[in-house]
Amino acid sequence: MTETKHADWAPLILIAALALGALPFVGSLSTWVTLTVAGLAMGMMIFVMSSGLTLVFGLMDVINFGHGVFISIGAYVALLVLVPLAAWGTADSLGLNLGVIGLAAVVAMVATGALGYFFERVVIRPVYGQHLKQILITTGGLIVAEQLIHALWGANPIPVRLPETLRGSFVIGDAAVERFRVFAILLGLAVFAGMHLGLNRTRIGLLIRAGVENTEMVEALGYDIRKIFVGVFVAGSALAGLGGVLWALYRQILVASMGMEMMVLIFIAIIIGGLGSVGGCFAGSILLALLANYSGFLVPKLALVSNIVLMLAILSWRPQGLYPVARR
């Protein structure tokens, strides 16, 4: 994460306060548990999908409006594993089930990572430093890629079956908690922990964080920031692919625009988190999803605009987002 020496607990306290504050209004503890777990799961999925985007932006000031298409492609590529190995998914064995998901995730990540490399080289490299063109070009890439998905996989929605052991719910007391949501939370936490360790405990992570704070200085010290950036872009695209697999299993139906539909939430998450901050993106995603769930339950009409209200509120409190990156 990119925040400075003193840990800043305020955003985390805000999340806890939101969750606990919602409890009396929701009324029943079991409903609250269900809502909270669902919100956390959704938040984790948003985080996995958006973490790459925020780092890419932080490091090279590049915004990829086509990020959503990597999510869709990840989901569609996962089909290449999920369909032939359907027997692994329907088997009543946790090992085989996780195996097929793991394999699908790896294939999806390799594919989206490779595509990210190509995208960085061909599409983004010529327009460094030109925001207007970046937005236009990446939106164009989005259109073309979405149409290619239609051409390759057909325009009809494709159903995906969730592996057997992840179907259904755990029952804790009166509360029903969907198994897949628990799986999504665990995976999201693992990704966050991995990124946190990678950024804070490795040399390359140190360079990435330094690059986010001050690109010129890192270059002046003799490091090739472009190379680091390509790596981050590839990793970010692969994470979007992983998010796509999760999102596909959650929706259980694939359409080419599924990634694009998430872009609004992703943008809000990285804006309220503070552009460039992984920790902020994590906190922002969870805050966003929890608030959407509680307000959807309590005041359904408000849920429609809860995202925007949250964004305005956070930006009024901290104009640079929850965890501002020093440079911005």
Partner: protein, 353 residues
């Protein structure tokens, strides 16, 4: 006279002049040149989208800001007419109320979004407008009692504009002057007027300041122009023009729904039109809109034939499938941004030299 009408901003290229005259004449005499309801529909759509693309170019091409909320304003215009006509009745008065309220709402939203996010960088504005527009689209489809939800609203228009109305008993050049044709000419002349107004705006001293901001924000600020104010005014002008385009479309279609006004697909269409036609020149919006709408309606036929002709070759038939027409325009869009950022108009103008 012509010089004044075009605000001194002449096409400056023979080919471009010819193209523009062809578009103008075709649209002006569309009911007589291309009889039939489908071709009249295409002509009306071209008129409306010229206004919509021109108003977007005011932001993108002249001021250098990317907004994804343009369809929101377009939709507000459409829904203003729809809600008023549906709620009050098919009168001109109701339409006036609807249009006035729609303009007011657009104005307020544009000012609020502008002041909130135009202070910061282009990227922020793009993301925030995307978020606001999507929230608005969800709102419009959920507030079923007001907007008709996903189904949208169908309504009748004032008697003069209905298909059964006859202005004169006799036919003119073999075409009877129905309410539909009157509606078409209402759309046509309103679009022409709005386009000339936009041309006036970009060639005014105010328009020059916008271009200065596009070229160098800091220098413009240093020269004493309040960048935030100019940008906000530009986005308000652009929003109100988009609202009026929405009004025209609502009158023409006699239907307003989320898919015809608020969808992200239309936003993409507008972007394609402006960029392919040529950013930073309003004539680009004319050519872009005309080409795009024609492609949307007729390219599919050509592609269907090509797709059938290439049957048997792997993948190619899928790529040439009529539904994939946007793929090819998308590729054209990407190539435009790289290789001819001034679009078709820029190319035509460069040729002369």
């Amino acid at each position: 006279m012509l010089h004044r009408l075009l605000s001194g901003d002449l096409p400056r290229s023979h080919a471009l002049t010819v193209a523009l005259v062809v578009v103008l004449v075709s649209l002006a005499f569309a009911p007589f040149l291309f009889p039939g309801s489908q071709s009249l529909n295409v002509a009306a759509k071209i008129c409306v989208f010229i206004v919509l693309a021109a108003s977007y170019d005011l932001l993108l091409g002249y001021t250098g800001i990317v907004s994804f909320a343009h369809t929101m304003f377009y939709g507000i215009g459409g829904y203003g007419v729809a809600v008023a006509m549906h709620g009050i009745g098919a009168t001109w008065g109701a339409m006036g109320v609807g249009v006035a309220l729609a303009l007011l709402l657009s104005l307020i939203l544009a000012v609020v979004i502008g002041l909130f996010s135009l202070r910061v960088r282009a990227i922020f504005f793009a993301m925030i407008t995307l978020a606001v527009a999507s929230a608005f689209a969800v709102l419009a489809s959920q507030l079923r009692d007001i907007t008709g939800g996903e189904d949208g609203r169908s309504y009748s228009v004032p008697a003069m504009l209905r298909p059964s109305f006859r202005l004169i008993e006799d036919q003119v050049l073999g075409v009877s002057i129905t309410g539909r044709i009157l509606t078409y000419y209402l759309v046509f002349f309103a679009s022409l007027g709005l386009f000339l107004l936009a041309l006036r705006i970009v060639n005014s001293p105010f328009g020059r300041v916008l271009q200065a901001i596009r070229e160098n924000e800091f220098r413009a600020e240093a020269l004493g122009y309040r960048v935030v104010v100019y940008r906000t005014v530009a986005s308000v002008l652009s929003a109100t023009m988009a609202t009026l385009a929405g009004v025209l479309m609502a009158l023409w279609l006699r239907y307003t729904g989320p898919d015809t006004t608020l969808s992200f697909a239309i936003m993409i269409d507008i972007l394609l039109m402006v960029v392919i036609g040529g950013m930073g020149t309003l004539y680009g919006a004319v050519l872009g809109a005309a080409i795009f709408i024609l492609a949307q309606n007729y390219l599919q036929v050509v592609m269907g034939k090509l797709s059938a002709a290439t049957d048997g070759i792997p993948l190619l038939p899928q790529l040439l499938h009529p539904d994939r027409w946007l793929l090819w325009l998308g590729i054209l869009f990407v190539l435009s941004v790289y290789f001819f950022p001034t679009g078709i108009v820029g190319r035509l103008r460069a040729q002369r030299r």
